[in-house]
Each structure stands twice: as C-alpha cells, then as structure tokens.
C-alpha cells in the first residue's frame, strides 16, 4: 500500500510548473496546476523517455519537451491519437505539504 512521504511544500513548486524528485531508482516529476492540484508522474515520457518535468503544464496535462506528446497528469495517458502511459503516483497535500505515495509496486514498474 501507499507509503506517504512528505517531499516539499506546495509553495516550492511553481504554479503551472514542476519539481523533480530523485529517488534511489528513478526520477519522479511532481506537477502543480493553476488551481493548485498536485500530480506526480514518473519523469519519463512513454514515447521516448523525455523528461516530462521539463514540459509546459497547461490545464491538467503536460506537453513533453522532446516531441510534444501531451500527457494527462491524472492518468499518465497520452492524449490525442498517441498511445502510451506514464506511471502515475498518488499525491496529497496537507497543511501546505505535498506527500508522494511511493509503493513497492510502482517502484517495480519503474
């Protein structure tokens, strides 16, 4: 089950931007939307592994900086005719602190 890890305050993630979380095994991109929703994806585009954290965030999606794939932040699914899915990690915000749910399973997938 999810193991909530406090990572950063909400304020430290720019609106419509992201921060990169480095774990032992991979990078996770944590995004903040204009409405202060927070999403986390493995920082690798399903297309060619581009760092999604470096993309432009709009609405609840991010556009990969390498080849403009548009990824839905909530599901990790590629939008439009493209097909592919980035691993999603659960997040929650409590008292301005962002928590990331890294479970064993997702670590395996990575």
């Amino acid at each position: 089950m999810s193991n909530w890890t406090p990572i950063i305050t909400l304020e430290e993630i720019p609106q419509l931007g992201s921060r990169v979380i480095t774990t032992d095994t991979m990078n996770v991109a944590v995004f903040r939307t204009a409405k202060d929703e927070v999403f986390a994806l493995r920082d690798a585009c399903p297309h060619k592994g581009g760092p999604l954290s470096q993309g432009i965030v709009h609405g609840t999606s991010v556009t990969c900086p390498l080849h403009n794939w548009k990824i839905d932040l909530a599901s990790g699914e590629a939008l439009g005719p493209d097909e592919g899915c980035a691993n999603v990690f659960p997040t929650k915000v409590e008292d301005g602190m962002v928590f990331l749910g890294l479970n064993d399973q997702s670590a395996d997938v990575a």
């Binding site: 720019p14 990078n27 470096q54 390498l66 064993d104």
Partner: protein, 813 residues
C-alpha cells in the same frame, strides 16, 4: 439535470462530422439521435467513384461503423426517414409514425441528384449517382448489360463513366456544352482531358441535348433534340445536384435554393441548425465536400454553447478521381477583362497550367497533367499572397523556390509507397495514404496527429498536403487562410497581436479574457507565443513568465535527448582570446564535459551538462567575462564574421569589428524565432551573409544590407535591402529591421517566410523611404534592449529561479 435532446436528420458526412467536432467540445450536453434514410452507417460519399471503379470496397469507405455510434451513445435510426417537423412542439414524425422530441435539431439532409424531367426519365435503368444504392445498381447493370450512357460531362459524370468502363461497359458521355467539366476547366484543359479519356475508351457526344428516354419498362435508348438516337441499357444522370430541402420547406423553415443559414449555421428557426450540401450560406450552395469541415466546426461550436465560431464561406478546389488523370482547378479560372493569365503548355508531355492573376494575386488556377503544385497555388490564392517577387518562376512550381532539397523528388504520383515523405519522423507515403484511408482523415492537422508526418520541422508540409489532396480528392480541406493560433482560440496571430496593442493588454490573463480563450491557461503552443508578444510589445512593464517558456528558454540551455543540457557562451563576432579559451577549457575540466564542438555560429558548444550543474558553471563562465549565447532561444543568436581587412588581402572593411558592434547592439533580444547575422568583408562572402536573417556584405564603397535569408529547412537567399555608407547606418537599419520583425512577425515565423508573406516592398517602404519611421523603430529596439541585455546566466548563478535547477532527493520506500 437531464440532458438536452439533439436530433440529427441525415446520417452523412456533414451531420456526423458535426457530431465529431461536438464531441471534442462536450460529450455530456446532449442525448443524441441520428436519423438516416440510407440503411448504412456514415460513409465517405466522395469515394463512391473508386468503389464503382473497383479500386475500393464498400467497407473501405465507411467512416464511422456502428460501433462508433454505440461507443458515443448515439441512437442511430436508419431506413425510417423523417416525414414531418412540428416546430411549435419541437417534435419529429418518421415514416413509421415514430415521434421524437428535440431541443436542438441539425438538418444535414445533403442533396439529391437532379433528374432531367424528360419523357421516360422514370424508366427502369435510369439513375443518378449519389449513394451506395446507385453504385449497386450500376454494378448490377455492368454484369448484365453492355451499353451505358452517362448524361453530364462534369466531375461526377466522368467519374461514373470511368467506373463503368472499368467494369467492362461501353460508355458514351453525353454533354450539353462543348467543354467537359466547364465549371472546373477552361477549354484547353478540357480538350486534353477529353483526349486522354478517349484513349481510355470513353466516347463522347458533345453539344447534345437529351429529348426523351426510350424503352418500355426498361430503358433501351435515348433520343436527342436533333432527332438522332443512341442505344443504351443504362442511363446515369449526372447533371448536377439540388439541395435536399423538401422537409425543411414543408416545416416552414426559410429556404431559397438551399436552407438559408447565417454565419453560425443557424437556420431561420433558432433551434434548428443546418450543415452540408443542403444549406445556402451567403447565397452559395456548395456541392463539394471540403466546405463541410469548416461548417461542421462552427455548428458544433454553437451547439456546445461556446458561440464564438463563424463560418465565412469557402474557396473550393477540385480534383478528378480518375486513375491516371491529374487535374486540378480552383477559384476564378476564367479570366475577366483586365486579368493577366500565366500559361505553361507542353502538349507532348500532356501538361497545361494556367494561373489567372489580378493585381499580382492568384485568382484562379487550372492544371492538367502536373498538379503537384495545385495545393500551393490554392494556398497562395486563399491567402491573397502577392506573387510579384516570384511570378517569373511561379509556373515551374514551388520546388523552384527551394524545397528542402526535395526538388523533383516531390512528384507525388510517381512516388512509391515506401518513399520517405517526412524525414524527421520517418513516415513513408504508404503510411500516410493508409492512415488517410483507414482513419478517414481530411485535414493536415488530422494527418499530423495520426502519422506525425509534417509535425516536426514542417518542410514536408507541401508534400503531405499533396498526398492528402490526391488521396481524398475534392474532400481535401486546405488549411484555412485564417489560421487560429492554436486549439485554444479562434483568433489568428495577427488578431492577437492587434488586440494586445490596441487594447493595451499587458498580461496573459488579460489577453485570454479579452479574446475569450477556450482554455483557462492555454497550451504549450499559445503560452510561449503570448509570452513573447507581451514581452515584445510591453518591454518596460511585462513580467516574463518562466512557466510559459519552452524548457530551453526556461533553463537557458538546449535540452538534449538524454535530458542533459548544452552550454554555448557568447563570443562576440566570433572573436576570442587565449584567456577566453583557457576559461572554457577550465570549465570543461571542472564539470567533466563529455564533448565539445565548434558551432556553425563561430563559438564553442559544451555538451552533456547536468541541469543541476548549470548555475555553478555559468558562475565560472560569468566570472571569466562570458554571457549567455542564447543558442537555445527564439532570440538573437550569433554574428558570424570573416577575417576582414585587418588580415585578409581581399577585405574591404573591418568586418569583425562591425560584427562585434552588431552583436553588442543585438544580443539578448527575444525574437519570434531564432535570428542570425553575419558580416562578410568582401563580396566573396566567406561569412555566408546572404543566408542570414540580416547579412552585411562589405564592399569598397560601403555596406550592402541583406535580409530574410536562412539555411536550415528551406534554404533561402536574402533579398538586398539597400546599400549604406557608414557603420552607424548599418546599426540603425539593422535595429529597425529587427524591431519591425519583432513587432509584426508571427511567433515561430522566421524572417524568410515573414518577408515572403508581407512582401519585400512593404519592408523597404518603411525602412528606406520613411526615415522617421526607421528611427522610431530603432529607438523602440534600443529601449527594449535596456531590459533584455541582462545576462540570464549571471542572474541564475546568483540564485534567480533557483527551484528550476534543484532536484529533491528522497529515498524510495
């Protein structure tokens, strides 16, 4: 709240396309019923000809199968047509007495073939060419009978005749006039067409007026007005179509030739919309498919209660779908008094091209035999492009303007299916054709989304459009001449720039509010554009938005495929000292730079830098006197120079010194796209100044100024702007040119296409003939430079945007 009821009468391309557009906007608003007279799901009507010719099967042309209706929760009723609309009660009655209620109604009833009301027109074996049933009748006739007559030598008639010949019938085309396809062709092209078709076995009776269809129950011949007769077992009437408006008329909706709609595709009854061949918009009824795509978009927009789209009419183009015949026509191809015509005629090659030109704009085009450039001419026509700069070569086609080195390889028809079209994404012709056919694609955007062809550098866009045009024929919808900036808005770049300036909009939210953006915070395409426009227009006030910049400009380095960055320090004019090189070498050692390269812009690129290391590296470079080279930005890049007269025995002026001055003036400036300069010390032009956005070629008596060149995707040689006498003038003209470009070009438009779009003369008018304007442009440029020439590297080395470069380390559970 229960959903509103939307009923679509007509299960054809127009109605269903409108639903597809609607689903892009909302899937929740309506409970949808589609009523179709034919017992088939939506199919591609313009592909009936290839089905008849046996080149395609019926299942190949189905656009939406029954699963599609189910997946989208659409209630599809086929084979039970609507017979009555009760507008007061908002109810429909079908033939089988079913009663349906609607909140909104979409009439997409299409058109009917016109049957000439001569005696005998109702005999067995007399049909139109409109739907699958007609094709089935023709196919059945082809296997039982020998002779066929097609009445009407227009597009549809010739396609029908071609199909019947392919099926082994002996076919005569009867035409009232002396010119085939007179609505699309002029006489010379029509004659070439007729000759080719005759070679393929088609017979013609020109200027023949049908008087009577002969026979008992079934047709066995035709008598003409002059008394002559011809034997036949099948008569296909293809003399035109009439909008199908009977139902609308009976229910009291205002109709003339078609159902009259306004620019929002709304009929006289505000609850009833209409699209497709049944409508009359601004007095025009369209008989081709292409206008549908725009109409469907607008209707969907209003059905979804967004209410901002307007349909303003279409310019259409035609292509005949007969294998082996290349024919294209668009616009007003019959010249009027005062028009000029440009003609290329090569009877031996079977090539004929005619352009009708008025005031240096293309008004119409007819092409036969070689239609590759049809899409290009059509685009020039729609955009109203001034062709004066290239009219002497325009008939030879676009490749003559330089087409990414594809040159003559661009003969679409001759290409095999495994020919690579999109070199960036490795997409072959066959992939594109397959996607177009199987997925029912009609627009360039569709093809880009599904195949990726033309979605990267864009140099193959013309090729992809040609493939699209040749695959779907007249259903092809050219990119509208007014292109919205992106999917978030209906407004074009020019409209957005205009609004920012006139309404004094100074923030991104203000722009999006005022222009009614569809998305709250835009997308990856419009945000960088808006950020640039605001910055360029309000340099003193606008606060740059880092989150609206592409990563390269946000991180001030070029992102590489592995997620590392490259660093290019600025070397003014390409000059450097031993100390500069030593400092770069030290930095390279300190940060374990895996690879270094001398760039084409005469500086040094350090590759493979981790993002976290960037600020520290910049600090070291900054302390050694370097500033950012902006090698990553839509910005002024470099000034390339040659040795110049200090050393070179041919040099006429101090090209390096002038290069340094130009770079000092322009560095740090944000631009619509990248911008490169060069200064060559003599006409030998070693600095390649004539393929730069702004190039200076020194001559003994002064300085030649060249604009609008680039290497890259499409090599374009500069245009000569003027010659000036002093370095001060070079700087002023350069600054003024840059500022005009910065203020007027579209975001991501380089100077080369910009100069071609607005015309060299417009730029000369301002820069050469209006000293005051030039001076004020130059002043505005210098003002914006006060805010732009702050080294972003130094600022970040001192902590600005620190979060951008710091990762957060955690241990995974």
């Amino acid at each position: 709240m229960s959903k509103e009821k939307l009923v679509v009468i007509g299960n054809g391309m127009a109605g269903i396309r409108t639903l597809e557009e609607l689903f892009k906007l909302t899937t929740e608003q309506y409970e949808i019923t589609v009523i179709g007279a034919e017992p088939h799901p939506n199919y591609n009507r313009i592909m009936l000809s290839p089905v008849l010719a046996g080149e395609k099967q019926l299942e190949d042309i189905i656009l939406n199968d029954r699963d599609w209706y189910e997946e989208n929760g659409i209630n599809l009723l086929t084979g039970d047509p609507v017979v009555k609309i009760d507008r007061a009660r908002q109810q429909l009655t079908t033939e089988k007495d079913e009663v349906l209620e609607y909140d909104r109604l979409l009439l997409a009833t299409g058109s009917n073939p016109f049957i000439i009301p001569v005696p005998g027109h109702d005999k067995e074996g007399v049909i139109g060419f409109r739907d699958i049933a007609d094709v089935e009748t023709m196919l059945a006739a082809a296997s039982n009978y020998k002779k066929a007559v097609v009445i009407g030598g227009g597009l549809l008639g010739l396609e029908a005749a071609n199909g019947l010949i392919k099926k082994g019938m002996d076919v005569t085309v009867v035409h009232l006039l002396d010119t085939l396809m007179e609505r699309q062709l002029d006489k010379p092209a029509a004659n070439l067409l007729k000759a080719t078709l005759e070679e393929q076995g088609m017979k013609f009776m020109m200027e023949a007026q049908t008087a009577e269809i002969l026979g008992d129950e079934r047709v066995n011949g035709i008598r003409f007005a002059d008394g002559s007769e011809i034997e036949t077992d099948l008569v296909v009437m293809a003399v035109g179509i009439r909008p199908n408006i009977a139902l609308a008329q009976e229910s009291g909706i205002h109709c003339e030739n078609g159902i009259v709609v306004n620019d929002t595709m709304q009929s006289y009854d505000p609850k009833i919309y209409s699209v497709g061949e049944c409508v009359q918009h601004r007095n025009i009824c369209y008989g081709l498919v292409a206008p549908l795509w725009e109409q469907a978009k607008v209707a969907a927009n209003h059905l979804a209660n967004i209410g901002i789209g307007r349909y303003e009419g279409s310019v259409t183009s035609t292509k005949l779908k007969v294998t082996g015949i290349d024919l294209f026509s668009a616009g007003e191809f019959h010249e009027q008094e005062g028009d000029e015509t440009l003609v290329l005629r090569d009877p031996a090659m079977g090539v004929y091209k005619k352009l009708v030109v008025r005031d240096n704009q293309i008004k119409g085009a007819v092409m036969y035999g070689d239609t590759l450039d049809g899409t290009w001419y059509f685009q020039l026509l729609r955009d109203g492009t001034d062709i004066s700069a290239f009219r002497n070569t325009i008939l030879f086609g676009q490749h003559d303007l330089g087409d990414a080195g594809h040159g003559d390889e661009t003969r679409i028809a001759a290409l095999s299916n495994d020919a690579e079209i999109c070199g960036c994404n490795g997409v072959c012709k066959g992939d594109i054709v397959d996607s177009i056919v199987k997925k029912g694609l009609f627009t360039l955007d569709d093809v880009r989304a599904h195949t990726k062809a033309s979605s990267s550098c864009g140099s193959c866009t013309g090729l992809v459009e040609s493939i699209l045009a040749s695959t779907v024929g007249e259903g092809y919808s050219a990119t509208p001449s007014k292109k919205p900036m992106c999917g978030c808005t209906e407004h074009s770049h020019d409209e957005v720039i205009g609004a920012i300036r006139q309404q004094k909009l100074k923030s991104m939210d203000a722009v999006r509010d005022f222009l009614e953006w569809k998305t709250p915070d835009g997308c990856a395409a419009c945000r960088p554009a808006l950020n640039y426009y605001l910055l360029a227009n309000w340099p003193e006030e606008y606060q740059d938005d880092a989150q609206s910049r592409f990563i390269n400009e946000r991180a001030h380095g070029n992102i590489q495929k592995d997620g590392t960055y490259s660093v290019v320090p600025r070397m003014f004019g390409g000059l450097c000292t031993a100390n500069d090189l030593r400092a770069i070498a030290d930095v390279s050692d300190k940060y374990n730079v895996p690879e270094m390269k001398v760039t084409g812009g005469q500086r040094i690129d350090l590759f493979g830098i981790k993002k976290e290391d960037l600020p520290a590296m910049w600090k070291d470079l900054s302390e050694a006197g370097f500033v950012s080279g902006h090698a990553y930005g839509k910005a002024m890049r470099t000034v390339k120079t040659c040795a110049g007269k200090t050393w070179c025995r041919f040099g006429t002026q101090n090209s390096t010194g002038l290069g340094v001055k130009l770079e000092e003036l322009t560095w740090g400036s944000w631009m619509p796209h990248k911008f490169k300069l060069a200064v060559s010390g003599c006409p030998r032009n070693c600095a390649e100044a004539t393929i730069k956005d702004f190039g200076v070629v020194c001559v003994d008596s002064g300085y030649e100024l060249h604009i609008g060149g680039n290497g890259g995707i499409k090599v374009r040689v500069t245009d000569l702007l003027c010659k000036v006498d002093t370095e001060e003038e070079v700087l002023e003209y350069c600054g003024a040119f840059i500022q005009k470009y910065r203020e007027e070009a579209h975001y991501l438009e380089r100077t080369a296409p910009w100069v071609e779009r607005v015309g060299l003369q417009t730029i000369k008018d301002v820069l050469l003939d209006d000293a005051e304007m030039r001076k004020s442009l130059y002043d505005r440029f210098k003002l914006s430079q006060q805010y732009a020439q702050i080294d972003p590297w130094k600022a970040r080395a001192e902590g600005e945007q620190g979060h951008e470069f710091k990762n957060i380390q955690i241990s995974a559970a």
